[in-house]
Each structure stands twice: as C-alpha cells, then as structure tokens.
C-alpha cells in the first residue's frame, strides 16, 4: 500500500478541475438519495450511483466491487457505467477478470481501510494490478469509496478519469455521502430481503408441517392457518368470532358429544395470555365423520414491549395414539373381567368384540379345547352365524379340520386365504360358503407351559392373508384368551378342591370359625353352629363361643385364647362343650392368628373337631384298662397268699389267744385286774393291726374310680410294698436287697398303681429265682435320680433271665413263662407306667438274671417342695 495515496479528509489538497459545483453536488446528492431509496435492490441502487456520479462529475468509468460469498475477495459486480468510449470496455473486461484480496489494488485498499482512497495516476501506482489495462485505455486518476452497512463493507465503488487529477476532497466527500446513503438504503433493503426470505421459510415450514398451526391476533383474527390445520379442522381460516369456533370446526370435549366451551379453547386461552399444555380435543366435522383426536399446546404472542398481541396454537393429531390407548384400556377391562371372575363366556365375548372393533369387516371367534384334548367347545363368536357356531361346537381337532381344528392339532398358526379352495376346509366348505366366510386364520391359544387351551380365529369375507396389524391383534387376543381360559381351569380345579375339602370337613365333623378380636365378633360355619348349638342367625362373639365351654375348662380356654392373641401364635385345646339341654361334646380346637400387612392381629381362625365318639371309646378303653388292672391286682393278691394269710393271722391269733387267756383267768377266779387290762389292751392293738392289714389289701384290690395322682416318694412306696410281700419273700427263702437314692425326686402318680407295678415286678422276680438254690435267691431293688428330672427304679433278679432275642417281648399281651400266668401282668405294668408319662424296659443282666427298670418324670415343682 502506498502511503501517499491515502486521503486525509481534513487536510487534503484542493485542485480546481471539472468538478461539480457545490450546488450541483447538493443536487446530485439529493437526486441520488431519492433514486437510491426507490431502487428495489443493491444492484439497481449501485447502477444509479455509478451513472449519476459519472454524469455529474465527468468521470468516465464507474464500477462496483462486491465481496464474494465467503468474504475473502472482492469480485467485480455486474453493474458498471462507461461513458460511451469503446476503449474503456477493455479495462472493464480486465476488471471483470480480477478479484482483490483486502489491501490489494484500489478496491482491496478501500475494502481493508473502510475509507475512500484517491490515486492521481494509476499507471504510476505500485499497488494497482490493473496498470497495464489502464495504461492501454489512458485511465489516470481514480477514486474508491466504501459502501458501509454498519461497520461492514458491502461494496466498493471506483471511478476513473483519463487524466491525472489531484485529490478533490469535496468530490470525495460528496461521493462518500452518496455512498453512505446507499449504505443505509442497502442496509434496509437487505433487512427486508432477509425478512422476506425468513417469512418464506416460515411459510414453507408451516405448509409442509404435519402439526396444525394457527396464529390469531388479540382480536381473534387468524394470522396463520396452515394446511394441516385446514385438514384437521375441515376448513380454513374463517372470520368468525372466537365464540363460534367450537361450532364451526366441530370441537368437542373428550366425551365426543359436548361442544368444547369456547372460552376454554386453547387458542382463546393463549390470546388471553395463558400457556396451554396438552389439551385434548375431539374433532368431528363433515370431512372427518369418524372424528379425530388432537392434542394442543398454545402460547400467547407478545409485542416488543411485552404487550399481548395474539396467540399461537400447535395441534397434533393423536387419533392413532388415542386408538391404541383405548385399545389398551379395553384390553385391561377384559383383564379386569378375568380378575373379577366374570364367566369365561363373557370374557371371551368381550375379547372377540374388542378385536373386531379394531378393524373393519373383521369377525373373530374363540374355541376352547376340551379337557380331553380332542374336541373343541364353543368359546365366543358373537358375530358369526349361529348355525356355523353350532356346527363347530364339539368338532374334533385333527390335521385337516378347518383352520382352528388344524391349528390346535398342529400347535401353530394356520392361515387359510380361501376356505372355498383350501383342502383343510373340505368338511366345512359348504357351511362357510352359506355363512359368507372366505378367509380364516386361526392361531392356537397356549398356556405358559405350552399346553393347547384353544384357538383364536379371524374371518374375512375377502380372500387374503393377515396384515401385520391383524397379526398383532391375534397375538394380543391369544395372550388374553390364554389367561382367561387358564384362570377358569384353575378356578374349576379350585372349586373342585373346595368342594372336596368341604365334603371332607363335613364328614370329619370339622367346624370352621373366625374370631375378630378387634371388633369382638366371630363367624362360624353352619357345621360349627350345629356343633356349638347356635342358631344360624345369632350374631356370634368370642364370649358366646367360649360360653359353651364346660365351666371347669372355660378359664383355661380363655387363657389359651389370650395367649394366642398376645403372641399371634397358635391355639390348641381339648375340652368339653356344654350344649343347651345339657348335652356334652368333647372337642379339639385348633386355631392360629392371622396378621395384616402391618403385622397387627387381624383374626384368629381355626377348626373345631368333635371327638366325642373317640373320647367315648377312649373312656371305655380306660375303664377296660382299669378293669384289667384291677383283675391283675386281685390275681396278685392270690399270689401273695402267704403274706396275706400271715399278716392277718398273726394279729388274729394274738387276739384269740388273749381272749382265751382272759376267759381262763376269769374262770379260775384269780384274775389280776392289771393283767386283765393288759390282755384287753393287747387285743385292741392287735385288732387295729389286723384292720391295717385289711385296709392295705383293700386298697390294692379296690375298684377305684377316681385315680388321683399325688406326689410320691418312690423309696417309700418300695418300702411299703416290700412290707406287704415280706411273708412271701421269707416263705420262698429269698432275699431282697434295696439300694435307695435319697435324692430321688418325687413323682406324680397314683400310689396304688405304682405299688401294683412294684408288686408285679417283685412277684415276677420271686418266681424267677425260685428254681435257684436258696443262697442265690436274691433280688436287688435300687432307685436313682436321673438329673433330678426323673426317678428310675430297677428290679433285678438272679434268675433264668428273659428271652434272648427280644427281652421286651415280655411286655406283650399273653406272654407268659409261667404255667399259671395270664400273661397280662407286664402289659398292665407297661400301660400304667406309660399313662404316668414314663417308660419301662427289660433286659438281661450282664452276668445272669433279668433287670426291669422304669423311669417316671419328676413331679412339677418338685425341687421346690424338696427345698421347702
């Protein structure tokens, strides 16, 4: 760049030349300004400027330079002014072939500096690439002016003359002023152009977009109403009041019949300044008689100062979405029917109707496979002819049995496009023809385990295969039908089981009951009411139920109930019921607590079993046992004859002797009164002794109905028993040795029964040693405490021992080694011990002889009683 070419606007030299006068310059400025303002675009405005400047100033050539698209170089614009001389065109051609980067040549210099530049002689200028061309046509002086739009150079204009001229500041100023005008005009023009192109874009978007867009000003006048809106609402923008819109465009509430309230329309609300989101409107008009669904969003429009100027809404057609939504809703309704235990026929009919509603001209049917797996049953076919339905019901399945029978048989979808030609339909062809059915596609309904439950079929009156949408429907239908059929089967099974349970409960004399502790109410099955003797209508409570319990056991039953309720645990009790009119029942009651999801007690449910009959036989059995036990004791007495005789005869002898002596003394008349008194005293004592013996024997052989248990010291019982049989022991020349554990816990038992056990064991032992030499006739009785929890008694003899193979056999009924034995003794012994919660065993002692030993549990609280 050449320093000297730069123009200093303020201190530039003035050279008088053929420059326009000041008046002319002003008129030029005015003319150009007016013309530029009227110019339609940049090109014509530039043309005005170039021409007018040349005309008024006498410069011969004017051209414009415009930055290229990416703004890297200036290109010669199409507009130029040449004042008629043919030679100048050569320079013009040279210019057109040139382009300048910023700072290069006159245009580039002006572009870069954004200031006018003056060259006195271009041929002398080192930064003027077009020198040669200029020299050829004699161009000398040149001036370049930037046209600025804001800070941006939108064009550079240059003028040439064929003589060297010094810089004319005024001229430059005038042209610069014109250029400035041009810049302003261009700026406005460009903004307009830009706006119009934005509008075009917007228009094109609006016309092509699928969503309806409507813009209205705050008077409700439509400013935009795109084609989608026209399609959606049936007609274009109408100049009607907003209160008429609902009526005019067929806008309804989601119930499809109530016109949409005009003041609630999204556009109206937007115009009011509201933001409207996702309002659903049902639209129905002549062009959409089925109606359509639209979802609308709206926004208010505001001016630059924020004042409301209108509203805009965007409406999306959601008819398909809604349809799917309704379809899903209807599916869930069918599923709800299933859950609510609607009948299978109802459910399947609803399902078929739902599917048929999804496509025009579609008819569907559902067949259910019989439990035999070989025949079909009618499920649902509400829109198929009754004759057809009747013909299919009960038909067998098989490889060539229509669409459905074959589908079930093959367990896969069977598509028959034309029933009139397909071999699968040979048997049903005539019927199908009469019924107007042409295509039938059937799909098996499978359980989750793959079991065939039935089939779902679609029928059409035209010959074709299923569309993808129809296949999708089929999939949904078979799925739901599968659930329904399986559920029904499960319920049938459940009902059968319920019936069986009820039957079993009835025959087992089971009563069901539920007690609700919170509400103090109770429920009882009919059987239960009968068992407890309650009227079928009487409202029940726990107290009423417990009131039936035998008074002796009522407190315990109440306590057991309370315990179960407190621990949320189990309840179990065996007790008697006293029914009205005094009838007694023995029952076993079992129950348990149920909790709600928060773990609080909900109810106590249970069963009551009438065990009166069992109880009766149990009592009878006990009586029998008692009888046997008594007989055994009587038999024992027979075996203990020596002891009995001796024990009784001793005191009787003494009495008889004393009485005789007294009589004799009296007869002899020399009776000493002291002696007489002694005799009488002895007689009293001996008769008491005899009485004791008799009482002891009576206790053993008495039929005692009340068997009262008491705390016993087994050591003492053993001592008493040995005393009872001492005579027999002596007579049999046997010895009994005892080893007593003095820490033996007490046991709770019936004394006579324990004595009976001991007598049996001792008498057996005496029998066992009988065959041994007298020195070996030993019997060892010992006791020991088992951790204080039970007491053990062992009776060991040194006799022949027990059967080697099974010593315990001796406890069996009728087992006897004795010629005269009944074989009942040890059976009774075992029964007594077991009734007392104990256990008895027999074994052969290591050296020889038998050992019998039994354990009885320690009496409750025994340790305390001993300590006290």
């Amino acid at each position: 760049m050449s320093e000297r070419d730069e123009i200093d606007m303020k201190s530039g030299e003035h050279r008088e030349a053929a420059d326009p006068s000041r008046e002319e310059q002003l008129s030029l400025l005015l003319t150009i300004t007016m013309e530029v303002a009227a110019a339609s675009d940049l090109a014509s405005a530039l043309d005005v400027v170039l021409r007018r400047v040349c005309e008024k100033t006498g410069w011969v050539l004017g051209q414009a330079w415009v930055p290229n698209q990416d703004g890297t170089v200036l290109e010669c614009g199409p507009v130029c002014f040449c004042c008629g001389e043919g030679g100048l065109t050569k320079f013009r051609v040279a210019s057109e072939g040139s382009h300048f980067r910023p700072g290069v040549g006159l245009p580039g210099r002006v572009w870069e500096l954004k200031r006018p530049a003056w060259i006195e002689d271009v041929t002398q200028d080192p930064n003027f690439p077009r020198t040669k061309a200029a020299a050829k046509v004699g161009l000398k002086a040149a001036v370049g002016i930037p046209i600025l739009s804001g800070d941006e150079v939108i064009a550079v204009i240059e003028f040439f003359v064929q003589e060297s001229r010094a810089k004319n500041e005024r001229l430059v100023n005038v042209i610069a002023a014109v250029a400035a005008q041009l810049g302003l005009v261009m700026e406005r023009k460009r903004a307009e152009e830009k706006l119009s192109s934005t509008n075009e874009i917007l228009q094109s978007i609006l016309s092509s977009m699928g969503d309806a867009v409507i813009v209205a000003d705050n008077e409700g006048k439509f400013l935009a109403f795109n084609p989608a809106a026209e399609r959606m609402f049936g007609e274009g923008a109408a100049q009607t009041a907003s209160s008429e819109w609902s009526h005019q465009y067929g806008l309804y509430l989601p119930d499809k019949v109530t016109p949409f309230p005009p003041d609630q329309l999204p556009l109206t609300r937007s115009i009011r300044g509201e933001e409207v989101n996702n309002v659903e409107i049902f639209v129905r008009h002549d062009k959409a008689p089925q109606g359509l669904w639209t979802r609308i969003n709206g926004r208010p429009l505001r001016g630059s100062n924020g004042e409301l100027s209108g509203g805009v809404i965007v409406c999306r057609d959601i008819t398909e979405i809604k349809k799917e939504e309704f379809f899903l809703f209807d599916q869930s309704r069918v599923l709800e029917m299933i859950a609510a235990n609607a009948s299978l026929a109802e459910v399947l009919t609803s399902l078929v109707l739902l599917m048929e509603g999804q496509a025009d001209g579609l008819r569907c049917s559902i067949l259910v496979l019989n439990q035999d797996g070989k025949h079909v049953r009618h499920g649902a076919a509400p829109n198929l002819p009754a004759a057809y339905v009747k013909a299919v019901d009960g038909a067998p399945i098989g490889p060539r049995n229509g669409s459905c029978g074959t589908a079930m048989y093959l367990r896969r979808q069977v598509v028959v496009k034309d029933v009139l030609t397909d071999p699968l339909w040979a048997d049903y062809r005539k019927l199908a023809e009469i019924c107007g059915l042409r295509a039938c596609w059937s799909t098996p309904i499978l359980s989750p385990h793959g079991e065939v439950l039935g089939s779902f079929a679609m029928y059409r009156q035209e010959t074709r295969g299923p569309h993808p949408e129809e296949l999708r429907l089929t999939q949904i239908a078979t799925h739901i039908a599968g659930i329904a059929i399986e559920r029904q089967r499960a319920q049938e099974t459940l009902r059968e089981r319920d019936a069986r349970i009820n039957l079993a409960a009835e025959s087992a004399d089971l009563a069901f009951w539920v007690i609700y502790p919170e509400q103090n109410t109770a429920w009882m099955s009919d059987k239960g009411r009968k068992m407890y003797g309650f009227d079928s209508k009487l409202p029940l409570t726990r107290d009423l139920i417990c009131g039936r319990v035998h008074p002796d056991e009522r407190a315990a039953v109440h306590a057991a109930f309370d315990r179960a309720c407190a621990s949320h645990g189990l309840f179990e009790s065996e007790h008697r019921l006293i029914l009205p009119y005094g009838k007694t029942r023995w029952v076993i009651v079992r129950g348990r607590c149920l909790e709600d999801e928060h773990g609080s007690l909900l109810e106590l449910i249970g069963v009551t079993i009438d065990v009166s009959a069992q109880k009766q036989s149990e009592l009878q059995l006990q009586i029998q046992r008692e009888e046997m036990s008594h007989l055994n004791r009587v038999a024992l007495m027979g075996e203990m004859t020596a002891s009995v005789a001796h024990e009784l005869n001793q005191p009787l002898t003494a009495i008889a002797n004393n009485a005789s002596a007294a009589r004799r003394f009296l007869e002899r008349g020399n009776i000493d009164p002291v002696l007489l008194q002694q005799l009488l005293q002895d007689m009293v004592a001996d008769s008491q002794r005899a009485g004791e013996v008799i009482r002891g024997i009576r206790a053993l052989v008495r039929k005692d109905k009340t068997v009262v248990r008491s705390a016993l010291n087994l050591n003492a019982v053993i001592a008493d028993t040995l005393r009872l049989v001492s005579s027999d022991i002596v007579l049999r020349e046997s010895v009994v040795i005892t080893e007593m554990d003095h820490s033996l816990p007490q046991v709770e038992a019936v004394p006579v029964q324990i004595q009976q056990v001991l007598l049996n064991l001792i008498m057996n032992a005496l029998d066992a040693v009988e065959s041994r030499p007298p020195a070996e006739r030993r019997i060892l009785i010992n006791t020991r405490s088992l951790n204080g929890e039970s007491a053990e008694v062992s009776v060991r003899d040194f006799g022949t021992g027990l059967p080697q193979d099974r010593p315990d056999k001796v406890f069996d009924h009728f087992f006897s080694t004795k010629q005269t034995g009944m074989g009942m003794g040890l059976t009774i012994v075992r029964s007594i011990i077991e009734t007392h919660g104990g256990k008895i065993s027999a074994e052969n002692a290591p050296d020889h002889g038998a050992r019998f030993f039994f354990q009885l549990p320690a009496a409750r609280g025994d340790s305390k009683s001993q300590a006290a």
């Binding site: 005869n649 001793q650 002898t653 003494a654 002797n657 002596a661 004799r664 002899r668 002596v730 007579l731």
Partner: protein
C-alpha cells in the same frame, strides 16, 4: 407264772411280739410255766444248756425259719416235744415238720382248748419218759 411243777416249763418261740405275748398269757391262764423266746437263736442257745420238755414253735419267722430251728432242735434235744404253730397252711411245711417229728401242728388262729390239751399231753409225755 410258774405253777406247781417247776420243771414243767413250756418254751415258746415266735418272732411276732404280740403273738408271743398272747401265747404266754394263754399258757399262763392254764397254769403253765412259760419261757418265751422272741429270737429263735436265743431259744437254741437255751436248749443247748437246759432240758426243754416242750416247745411251742412258730415255723415262720423272719431270720431263721421254724423248720431250720426244728431241725437243729432235733439234733440238740431229740426228746423235746415240739408243737408247731404257723400262720399259713403250707402243705410242704406241714409235711416237713411232721417228718421231723412234732407232736402237734396248729394253724393260727387256733382253738385254745385243743392247743392247751396238746401242750399238756406233750408235757405229760415228757414227764413219763
């Protein structure tokens, strides 16, 4: 309670104290002198040192059976007349006792007259020897 005949003493053996005492009274009421023994071994000791014409012996005692006493008595004093009393009618015992040789056998309780007659008869036999 000895009567006129000092030597005519009757020994009495029974381990049951009340029976023993009542027997003593019964014999005394008939004027017989009685030497009572609660323990058979004491009696056997007595026999070995004294002449015992008659003994009333209970053959069913706890420690030593009457039969054993009877057997040893035969060895110690063969001439002693023995009257057996028993509370139990045991055939075996009776047979054994009779084989050894008592003069009488009584089952308790017994007739006092017959018993005393038997005792007196036994005493008479002893004196006559």
């Amino acid at each position: 309670m000895n009567n006129s005949n000092e030597s005519a003493e009757v020994c009495l053996v029974d381990d049951d104290p009340s029976v023993l005492r009542s027997m003593q009274y019964l014999l005394a009421s008939d004027g017989l002198a009685v030497h009572a023994f609660n323990k058979p071994e004491d009696f056997l000791a007595h026999v070995s040192k004294n002449r015992v014409p008659v003994v009333v012996l209970d053959i069913w005692m706890e420690k030593i059976t009457g039969l054993e006493v009877l057997a040893r008595l035969c060895a110690l004093s063969p001439k002693t007349r023995v009257i057996v009393i028993t509370a139990r009618d045991d055939l075996a015992a009776r047979a054994t006792a009779m084989a050894i040789g008592p003069v009488a056998f009584f089952i308790k309780p017994f007739n006092d007259e017959k018993f005393l007659t038997a005792v007196r008869a036994a005493l008479a036999q002893a004196h006559n020897m």
